[in-house]
Symmetry: C2
Subunit: 319 residues, 2 copies
């Protein structure tokens, strides 16, 4: 079975752990969001790709969901001693090595997809991890500064990590997406898929950014495979992160049903909501999307595997 | 008193510690060798500049004479886990931060001299540290591989650190030197100096490389200030390092007298040899260079300060 998953960071990575556990023999291609990539200290950092790679490769800090386990912060402390920031982005020493290798390879002329493949040679994530694009796309957010009232456009990471989404996102723009091309293999994987899954990743800045790369949305919409998604919103709030802030920016309510309708019947064949959102099923189905309510809390790998099984069953039912 | 010192790495840095101690109020400009610079992991590494900066700024690993104190090697281990080398060059985590800051600034368009000044803002070395040039110069060494008999040209660091000078240096070439320009301030500092000192640095790959940058040798030769040097060869062998190997490459015997004559009367006004080489004094003086024999072992800062005082006295005597 060939499965394609459009993944962001923590939510996507944890879902993939469950999916691998549920169908260990499946051929899984992950199309990773690179809209949260950022250049820090002259190094190319790809947080979502790395979270998937570290999680599936056994190197993740399980507690925080991102970054490396057994991490130290000597380099970061030294950079701060030089007065070089930002200090709000927590790059550890082990993590720095990944960014150094990536930046060196990019500098030598390798595209991000080749670099990602080389990094995965070490991590053996058990999936084929493709960046959505080899071209630079960086999501930016328009905000009004709380103190000064100044309107600014900040990098998504500054909005998410430094400001912790404490002010409204007035607009979310994947800068560069319009000019970007899908990375080699992305459209082919979508076309050849037996199932396409939107994991409980952020619908705007993760899955939405991937779909913003010209060609990817159309490929998903016209794919022969059923497309099923899992709601990242449970009981009217994001399971983790601050998805409600960026959903508001695109005029979408933070409900399991509203996110399904945001993707729409043009993309989605099936949608899973949490059992606590069972009353959303009728609304989603009324819109023409097959919907079921199952437990959607990724408390451990087995609970997540059960979610993955439910998604695959829903895909069969939507075929 | 304005003192200009042409410095390599460990020998130059330790001498400068003694010089600062001997004449704390002097205005010292260090023209640092950049011929041993190397790009590692996509980062610009300047071993000699950093050794001077760390030594005078209190950050050096005193025992080994290079690298940072209290160092860890997490990044290096991770790079090795990615299969990314070289593994023979010992970059520690603290040291990596310096190279990351430098590389980022160079990438942003700052010349190496401005970068060095910015790094020194943190370290406050108490001297003005100038790279010999903002242009890329990298010393290469022609060798014959011990095992295969293959002739190769290797980067100086590969010769020095990986091979530990275990084979003969058949030629030593400061690649790029002919096209390089002295960094801003270098010629001005030499012209304005009251004393110019060649510390006991390597005469070929440290001081020699600095002098190979067009304009610097002439500026030293035509400076109004006396030029005095301290022999890095004591008792027919280098005090540290493997200077004999690279001296042989330029046809110079590893003796205190031969090194003085290699610099020659065109450059040197005075030369200090170790007391164990007192018999060299007559030969050096016969060539027209004022020479004295004093203890030249930099066993501690006070012994080194005494050497610096002897050099300054010799400069007065040669004036």
């Amino acid at each position: 079975m060939r499965i394609v998953v459009l993944a962001g960071g923590i939510g996507g990575a944890r879902f993939l752990s469950g999916l691998k556990s549920a169908v260990p023999d499946a051929d899984i291609t992950v199309i990773g969001n690179t809209g949260d990539d950022i250049h820090l200290f002259g190094l190319k950092v790809c947080p979502d790709l790395d979270t998937v790679m570290y999680t599936l490769g056994g190197g993740i800090n399980e507690d925080q969901g991102w970054g490396r386990t057994d991490e130290s912060f000597t380099v970061k402390e030294e950079l701060a001693a030089y007065g070089v920031g930002p200090t709000w982005f927590g790059l550890g020493d082990r993590d720095f090595a990944t960014h150094i290798v990536r930046t060196q390879m990019l500098g030598a002329g390798y595209p991000l997809s080749a670099v990602t493949e080389a990094l995965c040679d070490r991590w053996q994530p058990g999936v084929r991890l493709l960046p959505m694009s080899d071209d630079r796309v960086e999501t930016h957010v328009a905000i009004t500064e709380a103190g000064t009232g100044e309107r600014r456009v900040v990098h998504f990471q500054e909005y998410w990590v430094r400001l912790r989404a404490s002010v409204d996102a007035e607009a979310v723009v994947p800068v560069g997406a319009e000019q970007a091309k899908p990375a080699p293999g992305v459209l082919e994987a979508i076309a050849a898929a037996d199932v396409i899954i939107f994991p409980p990743s952020n619908p705007v800045v993760s899955v939405g950014t991937i779909l913003a790369v010209p060609g990817i949305r159309d490929a998903v919409a016209s794919a022969g495979a059923p497309v099923v998604g899992l709601s990242p919103i449970v009981g009217g709030a994001p399971v983790r992160g601050m998805a409600d802030k960026v959903l508001a920016a695109v005029g979408v309510e933070s409900t399991a049903a509203a996110v399904a309708l945001h993707y729409g019947t043009g993309l989605l064949d099936g949608w899973l909501v949490d059992t606590s959102d069972a009353d959303a099923v009728a609304e989603v189905e009324a819109a023409g999307i097959t919907c079921r309510a199952v437990p959607l809390m990724m408390t451990d790998v087995e609970a997540t595997a059960e979610m993955a099984r439910a998604a695959l069953e829903l895909a069969e039912a939507s075929r």
